[in-house]
Each structure stands twice: as C-alpha cells, then as structure tokens.
Symmetry: C2
Subunit: 154 residues, 2 copies
Amino acid sequence: MKIYLGCVLLVGVLSGLAFAQNSLEKEQSKLLQVDAEFSRYSVEKGPAVAFAAYLADDSVLLPMGENPISGKQAIVNYFSQGEYTLEWKPLRAEVAKSGEMGYTYGTSELRTKDKDGKTQVRYYKYVSVWKKQKNGDWKLALDIGNQNPAPAQT
Amino acid sequence: MKIYLGCVLLVGVLSGLAFAQNSLEKEQSKLLQVDAEFSRYSVEKGPAVAFAAYLADDSVLLPMGENPISGKQAIVNYFSQGEYTLEWKPLRAEVAKSGEMGYTYGTSELRTKDKDGKTQVRYYKYVSVWKKQKNGDWKLALDIGNQNPAPAQT
C-alpha cells in the first residue's frame, strides 16, 4: 500500500514533466505553428497588436542598438513606433523534454515605405525563447534579432 | 509486484526528467557559471579556442549581417578571423524543468586595437541556447548577438 501510494504520488508529481518523444515532436510542430501564426497576425494587425497578444507578462526584448526592454507593455510600446510591416518565418523549433520551455529561430523582413511610396525591405534573423503558460498557450519570453543579408534571388 | 515493477519502471524512465525546484535553481546557477567561465576562457585563449571548447557539434551561430552558420568547425572558423578580444557577462540563465535545455543572455564587449594601438570597444548583447550533453556538460547550441549602447558611465 505504501509502495502504491508512493507510486501514485510519483505519477502525480512527475506527470507534468513527462513527455514522450512523440508528444515532444508534436509540441515542436505546434511551437513552429504558433510562431508562424504570430507572424501572420503581425502582418494583419501590425507588430504592436501581435506582440501584445503573444508576449508573456515578464518578457524581455533585446532590440538592435538599444538596451534590453523588460515587460510586456514596454515592449508593445517599442513596437508601436512608426509605420512598418514585420513578417517572419520560423526555420526551427525545439522544446525541452519537460514541455514548458522552447525556442524558435528564423528570418524576418521589415518593410517600410520611402517618401516616394516605394517599399523598402530590410532583412533580419531572430531567436525567440518561449514559455508554456498554465493554460497551455505558448508565450514569447525573450526575443532578439540581428541583420541578415538579402536572400539570394532564385 | 506488478505495481512495484511499474513503479520501478516509472522511476527509471522519468528520473532523467525529474528536477526538483531546488536542483533546478542549482542548475541555473551552474549554467550562469558555465557561461561566465566560457567568457573567461575566451579572454584568456581567444574566442576561437573558447568556442571550440564550448560549442555543441550541431550548433548554429546567427552572426550579425551574415547568414546563419551551422556546425562547430564552421563557427570556430568564423571566430578565427582577425585579432580581437571578446568578453561577455551573462545576466540571466534559465533551465527547463527537464534539465537538458536552457538559455543565457547578457552583454558583451568586442575589443580591437586601432592602427595607433589604441583599444576600441564595441558593445553587444546576446542570447545563447544551451543543451546538456550525455556526460553532463552544458554546450552551446545556438548563439545570436546584436549591438548594444555603451554602458552608462558611473
């Protein structure tokens, strides 16, 4: 009986940590998909609205040429500056076996209009660290990007 | 007996995943320390030697202004270019509950000598994703940095 109770306890404590390889792969596909949806939302509604929806409350942004920015609202304010489109493409997602932490990385494009109304594109790449929330949603915990060359023309 | 065996099996399967909060905090302190030692090694031996020691075989570097570089040797070659000192300071480390994935972020300084022998400093920040290897060592799996303002003078 003691062993049985110990076993039940063990199952209870560890079930939150237990991820089979199969469900880990599913979770990685899901995180890739979440990041891709985040990008689509950014293109549709603008980066500020999209980051407001996907950021964890205690997230940190490491913006190019600026000091780190901490906290959801401060980061949303950062993305509220100016008129631009930000779109990205996750290339890879990986999730820890415990299923509550993961990262994505990929390439991104910032599009602005110059004074003649012509679209200017700048190229970047990024790493995002994600944390799964208590309700099961993945939220962005840490984000950094830097300059990337323009993709080769095909 | 069946329950007992099931319990043993469960312990066997999950023990690799089981991290109490206490050991998680220890692991986070350890990862901070590993990243700080990595920086000291970089200052002592040069970035190429340090990255050769700390990179995972399948690591990816996302260098500023260049396409992603995949694989330990290619990354070591990248850091072998030129004469410079690279030093950094991890500000935070976090480890997944399963204990095999974590990240650090912090600030870094690149020091070069100009033609008059005067030291020039450029400031950056970075995010590193780490993976614990089978032998228990933390190795760098993904690394990205970007420009940071010079720190405020105190």
